[in-house]
């Protein structure tokens, strides 16, 4: 199997000077000569950050983090990049090798690299203040660990808001015995966003200017299929049915391997070939809906872990997730890989092209989705309420009975309007367990949260074709630990949209950074996440895989490191706590994490057993 860079990558391949830098465990105080691209910040040429990426591999890999200017479809912005490109270089590793990654910081501020999804000693996980002190300006830090896995992963900064500005890249590990799937082409498609705005400005606006970035809010002249009663009900609740994405286009230009939709990202194929696309969502805030009109996609891996192949027409990829899919383009000379943002404000675009320059038609953006009462955890009323066909209907039944809100099966097809809000509190804090801190940081409590791992995601519930959901994922290789969990840990995802506060169990990270979530060595725990907000949250655990409790038998519960908890719903995973140390655990929406939705998971080591 051969690795192939997309055409655009070849065009802009630049050999980076590999300087010998002092290596050694810890922060070597080395001041390498600053690379040219990181030196200047001139708007006239110097210091430009390239789009697309090179490839690095081997036992020793040098990475340089620097600042520069980015230019995307005519818009300029400040960027932080690894080795001068956004995304940073593709890091190729082999399972079983030892790797040493020397990361030199050319910024005037601290930086870090977190290896997303990799099993590493905790001190090399790359989270400042949790796993290590960060990489100081003009210093080199050496990460050193054995590569214990294979699959599609990525890496990114965990310092400040650098991830938004370009500090991320793909990481692919070849399995020990070679790739078991024979494919003719193997491509990385890393999705992300570009904005000319400084991320601190975005954070300030999220805190102060409500809905600052949305240009899709309900208005007198919108075309949303909502009745006057529904509109009044949303206003009465002080919530908005268009709160799908906190930051979106036109603030963001969505990127495929660093390129805007007009910048011609292209993957070549010969008709009849099997193409593997390694999809990585390296965005800061954007869920993408990925489809290739005219082609089915066979999902073979999720978050780097092989799954039983499942064929779909579309999938939603959460921030931080990776999916490997196989496609077999043949009939047409080109196919569009369409990656709409979940709120349908824009798209990232790439082409599968049978010859350079071949282009397929790009379908127009579909109508923006709206939140429904079900997204507030009001799961009464089955049937066709515009969110999910049969499977959801069934789930909602279950919830209805749980919650004691029996409005009758097959009742009104539009629960949101007909059942209105009479007598219902959207913030009944008595529904919360006692360990949740009730306060201004919680603006909603899900009334009857049900597991919605069968939900394909906002906007895709009636897409009209096959869409991936978590229940369709089944681990290909059986899980090592299939013990029944010895205890349940329930965590509530809480928030306040107006104040832009986000938290676990009502406490923002700054309040609980010394009160970690603790696991005993090798403890098997079932973790239930309950989403008491109206937004989908991609929750990420560092250092370990967990297995989604998604209806598969324990041996085949899919291993993941990100789980999306749908609005007003729950999701559950099992975890074997066998990686000692302190690990970050957070919402992978960058501004939610900085808004407080983060915790530390502490796993005791075997030596800590009494």
């Amino acid at each position: 199997m051969s690795w192939q860079a997309g055409k655009q990558e070849v065009d802009c391949k630049v050999d980076l000077a590999r300087r010998g830098v002092l290596r050694g465990l810890g922060a070597g105080a080395v001041l390498g000569a600053m690379p040219a691209w990181a030196r200047g910040r001139s708007l006239h040429g110097g210091g430009a950050i390239r789009a697309g990426f090179d490839e690095v591999s081997g036992p020793v890999i040098d990475l340089a983090v620097g600042a520069g200017m980015r230019l995307v479809q005519g818009r300029r912005g400040h960027g932080v990049a690894v080795n001068g490109s956004v995304p940073g270089p593709l890091i190729r590793l082999r399972e079983g090798q030892d790797v040493r990654l020397n990361v030199t910081n050319h910024l005037d501020e601290d930086t870090s690299i977190h290896w997303h999804g990799l099993l590493v000693p905790f001190q090399f996980d790359g989270v400042p203040g949790v796993s290590f002190p960060g990489i100081k300006p003009h210093q080199t830090f050496t990460y050193e660990f054995p590569v214990r896995q294979s699959g599609t992963y990525w890496y990114h900064s965990h310092s400040g808001l650098q991830e938004q500005t370009g500090h991320y890249g793909p990481l692919v590990i070849e399995p020990k015995g070679g790739e078991p799937v024979r494919t003719d082409r193997d491509y990385v498609l890393l999705l992300s966003e570009f904005t000319p705005l400084h991320p601190h400005f975005i954070m300030q606006r999220l805190r102060t200017g409500e809905h600052y970035f949305s240009r899709q809010r309900p208005s007198w002249t919108d075309k949303y299929p909502m009745s006057g009663a529904e509109r009044r009900m949303w206003a009465q609740m002080r919530m908005s049915p268009t709160d799908i994405a906190d930051v979106s286009a036109p603030t963001y230009t969505y990127l495929a391997n660093g390129r805007g939709p007009k910048e011609g990202m292209e993957y070549l194929f010969t008709p009849g070939e099997t193409v593997r696309l390694r999809l990585i969502n390296g965005g800061a805030m954007t869920y993408f809906n990925v489809r290739i009109p005219g082609l089915a996609m066979t999902v073979i891996a999720a978050d780097g872990q092989n799954v039983r192949p499942v064929e779909v027409d579309e999938l939603q990829i959460a921030v931080g997730e990776t999916y490997d899919v196989l496609v077999e383009p043949r009939g047409a000379e080109a196919y569009a890989i369409v990656c709409e943002s979940m709120d349908r404000s824009g798209l990232a675009l790439a082409m599968l092209a049978s010859r350079p320059g071949a282009r397929a038609a790009v379908p127009a953006l579909r109508d923006p989705p709206l939140l429904t009462m079900a997204d507030m955890g009001m799961n009464h009323g089955a049937g066709d309420s515009g969110h999910g066909g049969m499977d959801h209907g069934a789930m909602d039944h279950g919830a209805m009975n749980h919650g004691g809100m029996n409005h009758g099966e097959g009742g009104a097809a539009r629960p949101e309007a007909s059942h209105s809000m009479a007598g219902m509190s959207m913030r009944d804090t008595s529904l919360l367990p006692p360990d949740v801190a009730i306060g201004p940081g919680i603006d909603m409590v899900s009334m009857a949260p049900v597991d919605k791992q069968g939900d394909p995601g906002l906007g895709l519930r009636d897409a009209g074709h096959r869409v991936l959901n978590y229940r369709m994922l089944s681990a290909l290789e059986p899980n090592a630990d299939t013990r029944e969990p010895s205890r349940l840990l329930e965590l509530h995802l809480t928030g306040n949209m107006e104040r832009y506060m986000w938290s676990f169990d009502g406490r923002m990270f700054d309040a609980v950074s010394d009160v970690p979530i603790r696991f005993a060595w090798n403890e098997r725990v079932r973790v239930k996440l309950v989403n008491d907000t109206m937004m989908a949250h991609p929750i990420h655990l560092h250092g370990m895989f967990f297995e989604l409790v998604n209806g598969q038998p324990p041996a085949h519960q899919p291993r993941k490191n990100i789980v999306t908890v749908q609005p007003g719903a729950s999701a559950t995973f099992d975890l074997t706590a066998n990686e000692p140390g302190d690990w970050a655990f957070h919402c992978h929406l960058l501004y939610h994490m900085h808004g407080g939705m983060m915790q530390i998971v502490t796993v005791m080591g075997p030596e800590d057993r009494p």
């Binding site: 203040g129 294979s150 309900p218 049969m390 069934a394 201004p440 090592a480 029944e484």
Partner: protein, 313 residues
């Protein structure tokens, strides 16, 4: 059409069967007989439907506890300090402090001129400002407010500044306490207690009770709401009501309902932060206050056409 993909997948299956899977095993039972791989279900409805009854359905397949219980003693206690042993406690402490504070309760600055306008009314054209802002985190803030108005070419008729400390008492409401200083007429200082926030139906409300250093008690409530006509064109009805517990002749205020204002402004957000507007506002003075106004040769009621800008940063 799928033949090729399926062939690849068959290869995948056989490769996995042949070689022990070296995936992510950190435990001792790394070697597993490959489980039979059922044919992938191409129909998403299937997988979903089978398990979709609710979570208890999953629990049957993958049994586990359903009640939350505390961690065992083996989970340890105390703050997370694993990194101290590797990088040094001092090094980590500084970084920890900095990093943790950045996730959650960090301060921001916000300043808004909600109304900055010229007012055209019979006889005397005037001006008005209504500015507020805060510095602080999401639940604890220092507020600044200033309002005033006057007639062009004359002295400022009314001007006040408030400095308030605010604490969130609810997801949508802040309690505010502080001081108000009036800079027109006889200098007056008030103690202030009020609430400010978002009421159901998205009304922005600011209500406060004032006790002056002379012991006079007054109160004021303002409410406004944004009605989006388009994403940029916004109609903002606004109402304000003032009451007084007593006659305050020095300030021309009568006991009871003192004054009311009702206005509507239409703004266009060139950018979110900057929106010129036009509008019309009607004001009334009542009871004793109306009497004081007449005595001063002013009309107790007035209608103004206003034009101004709303901006914030």
């Amino acid at each position: 059409m799928r033949r090729r993909v399926m062939r690849s997948l068959a290869l995948l299956g056989s490769a996995l069967a042949a070689a022990p899977v070296a995936a992510q095993d950190h435990s001792d039972h790394a070697q597993h007989a490959p489980a039979p791989v059922p044919a992938p279900s191409p129909d998403p409805g299937h997988g979903a439907m089978d398990h979709s009854s609710d979570q208890s359905g999953d629990a049957d397949v993958s049994p586990g506890p359903t009640m939350e219980t505390p961690p065992p003693p083996e989970a340890g206690s105390g703050p997370p300090r694993a990194a101290d042993a590797i990088w040094g406690a001092e090094t980590m402490a500084a970084e920890r402090h900095r990093e943790h504070a950045a996730h959650g309760d960090f301060p921001v600055l916000w300043v808004q001129a909600d109304r900055l306008e010229a007012r055209m009314q019979d006889g005397a054209d005037g001006f008005l400002w209504d500015v507020q802002g805060y510095y602080g985190g999401p639940t604890s803030r220092l507020w600044f407010k200033s309002e005033g108005e006057g007639t062009f070419g004359e002295e400022v008729e009314e001007a006040e500044v408030q400095v308030l400390w605010a604490r969130a008492i609810d997801p949508y409401w802040d309690l505010q306490v502080g001081l108000r200083q009036d800079f027109s007429g006889p200098a007056t200082t008030h103690a202030v207690i009020g609430v400010q926030g978002l009421a159901p139906y998205d009304f922005d409300v600011d209500a406060a009770l004032f006790v002056s250093h002379r012991g006079d008690v007054t109160a004021r409530i303002e409410a406004e709401i944004d009605q989006r006509i388009t994403q940029r064109l916004i109609l903002q009805p606004r109402a304000e009501l003032s009451v007084s517990a007593q006659d305050i002749p020095g300030l021309g205020i009568g006991a009871g309902l003192d004054r009311a204002e009702l206005g509507v402004r239409l703004r266009y957000e060139i950018v979110r932060e900057f929106a010129p507007y036009i509008g019309v506002e009607r004001s009334w003075r009542f009871g004793g206050s109306a009497g004081y106004a007449r005595a001063a040769g002013e009309a107790p009621h007035a209608t103004s056409v206003v034009a101004g800008v709303r901006f914030w940063f």
